[in-house]
Symmetry: C2
């Protein structure tokens, strides 16, 4: 019999999740009977994303449905169809869509799966479909809500992460001055030397506000917000009149019961700042086609770089997830479960 | 000789300004020689507005120029031209514009003054031109940035104030459910019984969040923000997906050196909230004509009510200003300096 190793959600964490307490690896026999339209997929890669932490909260108010206790975690993945009762997804099809954190997923009606017909022959690695060409890439939708103008300055936090690194490169393409913050010196080097950011700093060294002030003496016009807390406060402090905060995430606030209080929101009035939260699905219909064409082509031509942090083995997914919440990943966090 | 009583700015306050320390009454002889295009006006009413507190700060970063130490304070007023070397403003003209907190103002080139040709015969009281028909009324520009939809719920803080009372009535006209917060029970009664708000509460009684939860069991869609601090935090907590915060002011934070830290901005991401700061001059060109026509006609027809809190005598302006910062005024704060 084939075994199916999976990650089961055990308990709602209130701070950082702990392996064994909030989720754990379980192995069960794979025993699936497909109904008409169903497929069975072998998962190749799964995506680890900060928003998943929100799905672990014990609330019905998160923007995505919460994970169910006792069930397998799920998220974006790239998979191969290995059994099929669905003509649109014959055996051998490479797909992307929502799958479990497990080796094999039974997908009733192949729901939410999208075939990737050229994936086997494309020079693009399969993991890109859950990264630069997937939800995180699409999220870097700077053009949509930041209204960047050439010559403006953008500040990006978590700038070497799944979203930040792409935002920075897109901003450079559009003629912006780009400043990034990260939590490690090698990430600072990456931003400056590989991604050609204009400036970058390690937020763990020195004072965030002082760093920003010295790197953005003319102030910032756009803040691409991935971390929240003290970094947001500093960004508001140096923001120019009519500045915009693109609120993509606030990862520093996800794993604490004593959130940081932002004390300078009066700047929102005085400087006429707009802070806008969004999730990628708000824009998918409007911008999906442009995005896939542009970013796919830049990637193939080498006009953008996209760094991934790949963990091998489904059993290591919980630890890799916690690492991502701590900023231990360098690049988009992905788990490789199997070879094609 | 004619005496000119005026209010002089003495010192930048860091918390609530104090009469005698930060500003004081001074009387000097009126001794003016008009150059070509100049006018001398007798001030009838001056406007007291929360934004003026920002002009008292010791910074060059406020959105309006700071008050100058040793000089007379200034702001919106309604005045009568009593000497003129400007053909556009003959003696007897009623004008509105920026004037000093003083009995008589010399306005070089009549700069910034606007004649009110019908003011003497109109049923509209002169003070309205610095209130419901002036900057505060224009600021209540709900239509512009809140994108209200019929059936939505709006929450307005400082709802009996210069801006709030008008926002509430405009929101009712547009079919919204309207909830207001104020700091006194008689203001609660006014909102409910006179302005026909759907609900209102005294933020000094009980917990703000609990009050809001019980009055807005379906959540709020728009928050018209005048106060900041704990009220903003509560509003974010009960806000619905795609909610909007119209950030007009944050008066609770203007007179303190220990600002309130907002701990739940992660809702901006999770609920895709937009928070937008603005000042009225951003929209004056676009919306001024519509505004003057609509609000003026509603006022004459009695379709809107506008309560003013009129203090008599220029010498009482400093105390009235401090009272407004404390919420002691009931309606738009105005100082009457002289009869026409």
């Amino acid at each position: 019999m084939v075994q199916n190793k999976s990650i089961i959600f055990l308990k709602h964490p209130t701070e950082f999740p702990v392996v064994g307490e909030h989720f754990e690896v379980q192995t069960k026999e794979l025993n699936v009977t497909l109904a008409p339209s169903d497929v069975l997929v072998k998962n190749l890669f799964i995506s680890l994303d900060p928003y998943m932490r929100g799905r672990m909260r014990n609330t019905d108010k998160s923007y995505t449905a919460g994970f169910q206790l006792g069930h397998v975690l799920n998220g974006g993945g790239v998979s191969e169809v290995i059994e099929s009762k669905n003509d649109a997804f014959p055996v051998g099809t490479i797909v992307t869509g929502f799958v479990g954190w497990e080796q094999f997923s039974h997908v009733p009606g192949a729901q939410g799966l999208r075939a990737l017909p050229n994936a086997r022959t494309s020079p693009i690695p399969l993991s890109a479909y859950i990264g630069v060409l997937g939800m995180p890439g699409m999220t870097a939708s700077l053009k949509i809500i930041g209204q960047p103008k050439k010559g403006e300055t953008i500040f990006i936090s978590a700038a070497a992460g799944a979203v930040g690194q792409l935002v920075g490169q897109m901003a450079k393409q559009q003629g912006l001055r780009v400043i990034g913050s990260v939590g490690r010196d090698d990430k600072v080097d990456y931003l400056i030397n590989e991604l050609k950011f204009d400036a970058a700093f390690n937020y763990k060294k020195g004072n965030i506000l002082e760093n920003l002030k010295s790197l953005a003496p003319e102030g910032i016009d756009i803040y691409y917000e991935n971390v929240g807390g003290e970094t947001l406060e500093a960004a508001l402090e140096v923001m120019n009149t009519h500045g915009r905060v693109i609120a993509c995430g606030m990862i520093s606030q996800y794993n604490t019961q004593t959130p940081y209080g932002i004390r300078n929101l009066t700047h929102v009035v005085g400087k006429r700042i707009t802070i806008r939260g969004f999730i990628v699905s708000d824009f998918a219909a409007e911008c999906g086609a442009d995005f896939a064409r542009d970013v796919g082509s830049w990637l193939v031509k080498g006009e953008i770089i996209y760094k991934e942090d790949i963990t091998e083995g489904i059993e290591n997914a919980p630890d890799a997830f916690i690492g991502m919440l701590n900023g231990r990943n360098f690049g988009k966090a992905v788990v490789k479960i199997a070879d094609l």
